[in-house]
Symmetry: C2
Subunit: 163 residues, 2 copies
């Protein structure tokens, strides 16, 4: 009987150890999925609400006036309404985000979605209420800087999405 | 004794099952890591050597002349030398790739690396010998189409990399 108990204990320890390893491995892989580019620095200006991190990947220069940046929104975080004089392309890298153009319904963005926002069209983007969102923004600077507008109301942020 | 054997068998089955689940989960996550955008269609023109898949994510238009595409190179696959009249930005999404500009040493590209290739500078890119490579290419079309040049020699492809 003592032998059986010792064997039970050994089995239990092996099982617990294998469960633990499996769990650690999953967490590690889940983190890898969401990180391609560095998260960068925490935003400190008031163009965003909530926790947002920005990493510039490419600066615009005189030869190629396209800027590329990686933006990470914590759940609930979002930009103000704003527009880009040369337009913007958004690549959804991970998580669940929202995107809305003026006069249109709010859309849900998920990993692999792509948005092409025309020049001078007011829009906002951010994470959904309960899931972070990572995007790459590709922005032409040849027509001037981004123009920041009003905050997104709570009503607009929580409105029903189109998809 | 029979009881102990049955218990051993039960433990073994539970262990095997837990190992199997863990393995399937890992494979599934490994696949997720490398796929953000669809792989697209297999290239059929002779601007590339080896197996290459291209998925256009954004077409250039009159309002925003930036094209964005996801390119997947099988191990050993690469482009010919070529140049872009408005330059190109390359985002390394996954795997291990090579990039070389005319007159420079070949560089290794890994997930998270970014290259800004100036306008009209001949260059080539592709996968390494034994690992596939996924990139997002951001290309301005305002100054005309890509100009394709000569094939990359075997010597240049296999040359020692700078990093």
């Amino acid at each position: 009987m003592k032998y059986i108990l010792r064997f039970n204990l050994a089995c239990l320890l092996v099982l617990l150890y294998s469960c633990n390893c499996s769990s650690v491995e999953s967490n590690s892989k889940a983190e890898e999925v969401s990180i391609i580019f560095p998260q960068g620095d925490k935003n400190t200006n008031d163009n965003f609400k909530g926790e947002v991190w920005v990493k510039s990947l490419v600066d615009a220069d005189s030869l190629n006036e396209t800027a590329v940046g990686n933006v990470t929104f914590a759940p609930g975080a979002r930009s103000k309404w704003h527009l880009h004089p040369a337009g913007q392309i958004i690549l959804a890298i991970d998580g669940k985000g929202y995107y809305q153009e003026e006069g249109q319904a709010k859309k849900i963005l998920r990993k692999g979605d792509v948005v092409k926002c025309p020049p001078n069209v007011p829009h906002w983007h951010g994470a959904s209420e309960d899931t972070a969102f990572v995007q790459v923004a590709i922005t032409g600077r040849q027509n001037g800087a981004t123009k920041w507008l009003q905050s997104v109301t709570e009503e607009a942020y929580h409105a029903a999405a189109k998809n």
